[in-house]
């Protein structure tokens, strides 16, 4: 068992982590904004429904949610999940959308009322004020907490092995079962590399936004 073989083996596993990461990112970012609008809605039933949903998702382990999404359709409705990656993506997207929604809400609520009032007295509509004035300020403010959350997401993708997705740690565990322990610790390097790239990326984005306060 050569070092090179193990490295490429683990790399194939990491591909699954990256796939799950990108899928979650692509769908949870917009879904999170929808949930934010729900939880900030003036229509009380929608507001409390959304808040209850966010409470349930944030209040239960992601691992449990993975089991629910993967097994419940088959056990209860007789439609077994055909794709493990699809099930994992659904669970991750819903879970992370809820966390993102709270970050968005914090960002939106931190924008001073004066910005909305300035938009109004200048004859702008509510949606013009939100999308042309407020949103960019929200984006700037949520960059640091979003960076944090995405680092957590990178590492959380490993949880998908509980529904037998062959991600990097699972790939390493196959060696452990055969008595080779070091590949398991070696996976840390892969996570460090991914998180390193993300950290650099977020540093760059923060700098891009530093031209205004």
């Amino acid at each position: 068992m050569t070092f090179g073989k193990i490295t490429t083996d683990l790399l194939a596993g990491l591909g699954q982590n990256i796939e799950l990461f990108l899928l979650t990112l692509a769908f949870a970012l917009p879904l999170g904004l929808l949930i934010t609008f729900g939880s900030m809605s003036k229509f009380k039933p929608l507001k409390y429904l959304t808040k209850t949903f966010v409470w349930i998702i944030r209040g239960t382990p992601l691992m449990l949610q993975l089991f629910v999404v993967f097994y419940i359709p088959g056990l209860v409705f007789g439609y077994p999940m055909k794709s493990r990656m699809f099930a994992a993506a659904i669970a991750f997207i819903i879970n992370y959308a809820c966390y993102f929604s709270e970050i968005y809400r914090g960002g939106i609520e931190s924008i001073p009322n004066g910005q909305y009032e300035a938009g109004q007295v200048l004859g702008m509509t509510k949606s013009q004020t939100f999308f042309r004035v407020v949103l960019m300020q929200v984006v700037k403010r949520i960059i640091p907490p979003m960076g944090n959350e995405l680092l957590t997401l990178v590492k959380d993708t490993s949880l998908a092995r509980v529904i037998a997705i062959g991600e990097v740690i699972m790939a390493a565990e196959r060696y452990t079962a055969r008595g080779l322990i070091w590949p398991l610790f070696y996976t840390g390097v892969y996570f460090l590399a991914l998180c390193g790239i993300l950290t650099l990326l977020f540093g760059w984005i923060e700098k891009k936004f530093s031209y205004y306060r």
Partner: protein, 259 residues
């Protein structure tokens, strides 16, 4: 005919009466200052006229249009509301410039968004935008801020920011321009440049209503001053009269405190 007419205006917040029946009129080209201690209702009055708050009772007429009337059941369409909104301009105490836009963009954003409603917008977009930019540049130059066109608000002094926010309000050509304590957030050495701009606007016969604590400035620039106390107009009159010969005890007490 009066360009601004306010009749029997009432406003309460959670049971607390902030405005208890305000009546006044203002002629076109006149400058009116509103003075009074904090909590007297000055800012609430301004916010009701500029539609940031909805009054509970009374009537407001701006430049021939009734913008608020508690006796009328008629609901205004959003288009009518927007038209009414643009009749009044407001300069905030805390400027409220848009931080992510530079000076020129701050001044032109609302005009460019409004231009999207024009039927010829799609064909002439470029020309329309250029026209708006040119118009804004003229106004910005008038304020002596030509060199700051591409600067962001955080790169400007407080006085410069407030001048930009005055241009931004002026650019939409409101019938009346309102100022809510325009110099209160500024260091004393920066108030002068903002007051100078307002003085110049007064000379050009811009109709203005100014909530201010600068008594000397109010007397110099205003045609008319109203003194508010506990939600009513306790005294009103010409600038010199009101400040030099206060009639009520409350105004006397107020003036002795601020002078």
């Amino acid at each position: 005919m009066a360009i601004l007419e306010v009749k029997d205006l009432h406003k309460q917040f959670e049971g607390f009466q902030v405005l208890k029946g305000i009546n006044f009129e203002l002629e076109k080209g006149q400058v009116m200052s509103i003075i009074g201690s904090s909590g007297s209702g000055k800012t609430t009055l301004l916010r009701c006229i500029t539609q940031l708050e909805t009054a509970d009772q009374g009537m407001i007429m701006v430049d021939g249009s009734i913008t608020f009337d508690s006796a009328s059941k008629k609901k205004l369409s959003s288009e009518e509301k927007r038209k009414n909104q643009l009749k009044t301009g407001l300069v905030f105490q805390s400027f409220n410039l848009f931080p992510q836009y530079n000076v020129l963009e701050n001044v032109t954003l609302a005009m460019k968004l409004a231009a999207e409603r024009r039927p010829d917008f799609k064909e002439n977009k470029k020309e329309i935008y250029e026209e708006i930019d040119d118009k804004a540049k003229v106004l910005i130059a008038k304020m002596g801020l030509s060199e700051k066109l591409k600067n962001y608000p955080c790169e400007l002094s407080g006085g410069q920011q407030q001048r930009v926010s005055i241009v931004r309000a002026m650019a939409l050509e409101p019938s009346i321009l309102f100022f809510d304590e325009p110099t209160s957030a500024l260091d004393p050495e920066l108030t002068g440049e903002v007051l100078k701009v307002i003085r110049e606007l007064a000379e050009e016969k811009m109709t203005m209503v100014i909530v201010t604590h600068e008594m000397d400035f109010a007397r110099e620039v205003s045609d008319k001053i109203i003194f508010m106390d506990q939600g009513i107009i306790a005294e009103s009159g010409s600038a010199d009269d009101l400040i030099n010969n206060p009639k009520t005890d409350r105004l006397k007490a107020f003036l002795s405190k601020v002078k």
